[in-house]
Amino acid sequence: MTQQPKSWKEISPAGVCWKPATDYHTGDWRTFKPVKDPAKCTKCLLCHMVCPDSAIKYNKQTQDVEFDYDYCKGCGICANECAAKAIKMVKEGGE
């Protein structure tokens, strides 16, 4: 958290949450990142379903599957579950 925490006068009572979790980028947690082979991907969307972090999105416009690296923790479930073996887990910082 880089923002200065607020004083008791500035926040709503009862601890009502006022920040969406999406403001918190968990992407910097990972060691491995998933990389898609577009040639193999059948756009079955199974990876979107199994991602614990909703970090695989279906882009309605492009009708394509996209990884959201802001949140991906690199667990590898998508790569393990992909029926087409279209996802590879690659070490961060080295392709």
């Binding site: 008791w8 009572p13 601890g15 949450c17 920040k19």
Partner: protein, 410 residues
């Protein structure tokens, strides 16, 4: 005070008075578990439900802990919620008592004060509510069934005030008030409904920065009851303290408005000072013992003794100014505690009164009598002997014993 309102006199015991007040107050959810001596409240209310006399969801929960959890979440969903308990039930709820205050839910709870076990005792004692005094609930203590009825009605207005959002506990002595029949003046249904009003919700900030009503509503989703790390817990607790600073103004407003409507007031809403104006010796107490004490005071006055009794009605927030104003000039004070803080050199009320008077210039001597534990009767003659002790302290300036147990067999 001339009051135009037509009020019927009905014989009710304290528990029945609570049930009637709840019935008339347009309560949406009652979630409660029976425990002596509160049982008449839930039984009477069940009768109302079975006869279609109330439009309330009555949840017969399986324990007191669930009673307060359900009342709390019902309240957070926007319902007006009420529960009642005593003794072990209140102790079982302890975790949720703090959670309710922390969630700033305006739940109203009646407690028919009864001793905490062990040994198990079903009779009157203040140990149950005393164990919750740090929780952040407003605590009002009634002297009789009439005050109980009146205070329950006021409690909903107090708790739900959008600047307060603090749960309110109305205490009535177990058996002495809960089960004793009294002539109670009751208001017509419409007048109570008008007085308690429909619940209003303050605005809070959601995750989109919008101001939305403080309740669980699918149209304006809020997250309530989050995890606080050390960076924010302290601030949330500070907010609760702030609510207690705001409370007196609201408690007084509601009390005075009710007094105008019904002709009944209880001291200044915070303390009931009986013959204290020129009192030289005085006792301080909570609850029904004040009634007996007033009789002793009247007798002493007839004998030329300048005695008085200060009954604390609003125990939380502590009415600091009123206590100082009433007790500052008194020459000897005895605080009567119907519970003990074991090993702490006196009972809880004693500690608090002493604390309040500590900084005063007059610094009067304050002694403590632990009395009436487990329903032990507090007769006039015991109270009279306390005043005799006070008379001696006032005359000689010397205190023989600071903390005594009045009425125990040594």
């Amino acid at each position: 005070m001339t009051v135009k309102l037509e009020q019927q006199v009905i014989p009710l015991n304290g528990d029945e008075a609570v049930a009637l007040a709840v019935k008339q107050s347009d309560v949406d959810v009652v979630a409660a578990y029976p425990i002596t001596p509160q049982t008449i409240i839930v039984e009477k209310f069940s009768e109302y439900v079975a006869n279609g006399e109330v439009d309330t969801e009555f949840v017969c929960v399986e324990s007191e802990h669930s009673a307060l959890a359900a009342s709390l979440t019902a309240s957070l969903t926007g319902a007006r919620a009420f529960t009642a308990t005593a003794s072990a039930g209140l102790a079982l709820m302890h975790e949720m008592v703090y959670v309710t205050a922390g969630c700033r839910a305006p739940v109203v709870m009646a407690v028919t004060n009864r001793a905490l076990s062990a040994p198990i005792n079903i009779h009157c004692d203040h140990s149950d509510a005393m164990a919750e005094r740090d929780s952040g609930w407003i605590q009002i203590w009634a002297e009789n069934a009439q005050e109980t009825y009146d205070s329950i009605i006021q409690a909903f207005r107090i708790a739900e005030h959008k600047d307060l959002l603090t749960p309110v506990m109305i205490n009535l002595d177990g058996f002495f008030l809960s089960h004793t029949l009294e002539n109670v003046k009751v208001l017509p249904d419409e007048e109570v409904k008008k007085f308690v009003r429909t619940r209003e919700f303050p605005q809070v900030t959601d995750t989109e920065g919008k101001q939305v009503p403080f309740k669980l509503d699918p149209n304006n989703p809020l997250t309530l009851g989050p995890l606080d790390l050390p960076d924010y817990y302290f601030e949330h607790k500070r907010q609760q303290e702030e609510a207690m600073h705001v409370a007196p103004k609201i408690i007084k407003e509601v009390h005075d408005e009710y007094a105008l409507l019904t002709g009944r007031s209880y001291g200044n809403a915070f303390v009931d000072a009986y013959r204290m104006e020129d009192a030289e010796i005085a006792t301080v107490c909570l609850g029904s013992a004040a009634g007996t004490t007033k009789t002793v005071v009247d007798y002493l006055r007839s004998q030329g003794v300048k005695a008085g009794v200060l009954r604390i009605r609003t125990f939380r927030p502590t009415p600091v100014e009123d206590i100082i104003k009433c007790l500052e000039g008194v020459k000897a004070i005895a605080v009567m505690d119907r519970s003990n803080s074991v090993g702490a050199d006196g009972g809880p009320l004693f500690h608090e009164i002493r604390h309040v008077l500590y900084g005063t210039r007059s610094h009067p001597p304050v002694v403590n009598y632990i009395y009436g534990l487990g329903g032990r009767d507090m007769p006039q003659k015991t109270i009279h002997s306390i005043y005799k002790d006070l008379y001696e302290i006032a005359s000689t300036g010397k205190v023989k014993h600071f903390v005594q147990f009045a009425g125990v067999r040594d």
